[in-house]
């Protein structure tokens, strides 16, 4: 089976400032993302939890950059595989599946991995490769 063609990914390291900024920008009051005492003492987490939608948004950015300028993302599904906490060095990457069954459609797989190579989130998107811009 032919492996997906790799996408040019990027590295991120979400610290407490970014977790707070994302919670503020999304209006998400869930305390596990910005209240360390609550996250550790009440919910038993090792630290502030990185938001799943932040991981999803990074993977979507990867798809959107690949699709531009003539294509567009039609759909995207993502899920967190395991919790990831503040300060983790993460690599956002993915690949294009080699054979699309529909003309004009590309299917891309994305992932977020730790520096140890552990996958913490995955995604899968459909991109229309020849469309008008929105």
């Amino acid at each position: 089976m032919t492996p997906p063609s790799p996408l040019a990914g990027f590295e991120v390291c979400p610290g407490p400032l970014q977790l707070f900024a994302f919670s503020a920008a999304t209006g998400n009051p869930h305390r596990i993302h910005y209240d360390r005492d609550y996250a550790t003492a009440v919910e038993g987490l090792p630290g502030l939890l990185v938001q799943g939608p932040l991981l999803g948004t990074w993977m979507l950015e990867l798809l959107d950059r690949w699709a531009q300028p003539s294509g567009s993302v039609e759909s995207f599904t993502y899920r967190s595989i395991r919790p990831v906490t503040e300060g983790a060095v993460l690599h956002v990457g993915g690949g294009v599946e080699p054979s699309a069954s529909e003309p004009g459609i590309a299917v891309l797989e994305t992932w977020v991995r730790t520096s140890d190579g552990e996958t913490v989130a995955t995604g899968r998107g459909r991109v229309a490769t020849r469309t008008e811009s929105a």
Binding site: I32, E43, Q51, T57, S72, E74, S80, E132, A134
Partner: protein, 179 residues
């Protein structure tokens, strides 16, 4: 069935433009629906979201750059629907928030200690741009008890429609995990 005692489905509709969002029912069941007050997309809100994800893409900050790429105005990152989802649901009085900070928001009455975001499936029909008026309609479509690697949990699935004056921009199926 764990949630058999919950009430039958009902519908709550609210017209756009009201200043107060609707209160979620104290216990939510499959079929319950909320239409939130109109959410106004602004270039400031888009820029705040773009900064929070660490992006410096010019079309997220500058109308000219966005138009040169074929957009109507400053365009939002594709993941911006999450900001609309949370902001519409959490526009409630502080005393309505749970101890974990979360709003009631069509959550079924069950015993749980933690909640987390699960899978999200989104279909994109249009991009959000500054000036858009967005109406979000959220429906509780499934409640399922499951077994995972970390033990038992309940998966609550919401279907959300994000509609602008041009039509439906995004349809999302979002799963919230309760353990």
């Amino acid at each position: 069935m764990k949630f058999a005692h919950l009430r039958k489905s009902k519908e709550m509709r609210f017209p756009g433009g009201v200043s107060q969002p609707p209160a979620s029912p104290p216990t939510a069941g499959v079929g319950d629906q909320i239409t939130y007050p109109v959410f106004h997309v602004t270039c400031t809100d888009i820029a705040r979201f773009a900064h929070s994800i660490g992006s410096r893409a010019p079309e997220y900050f500058d109308a000219g750059a966005a138009r040169s790429r074929g957009h109507r105005d400053v365009v939002a990152p594709l993941g911006y629907y999450v900001a609309i989802r949370h902001q519409t649901a959490s526009l409630v009085a502080l005393e309505e928030l749970s101890v974990d900070g979360m709003p009631p928001d069509l959550t079924p009455a069950t015993t749980y200690l933690r909640r987390a975001a699960g899978e999200s499936r989104a279909r994109f029909h249009d991009r959000f741009v500054a000036g858009d008026r967005v109406v979000v309609t959220k429906t509780l479509v499934d409640i399922a008890d499951k077994q995972g690697r970390s033990g038992a949990f309940t998966a609550v699935t919401h279907e959300l429609h994000y509609d602008t004056d041009r039509g439906t921009a995004v349809v999302e199926h979002f799963v919230r995990i309760l353990r």
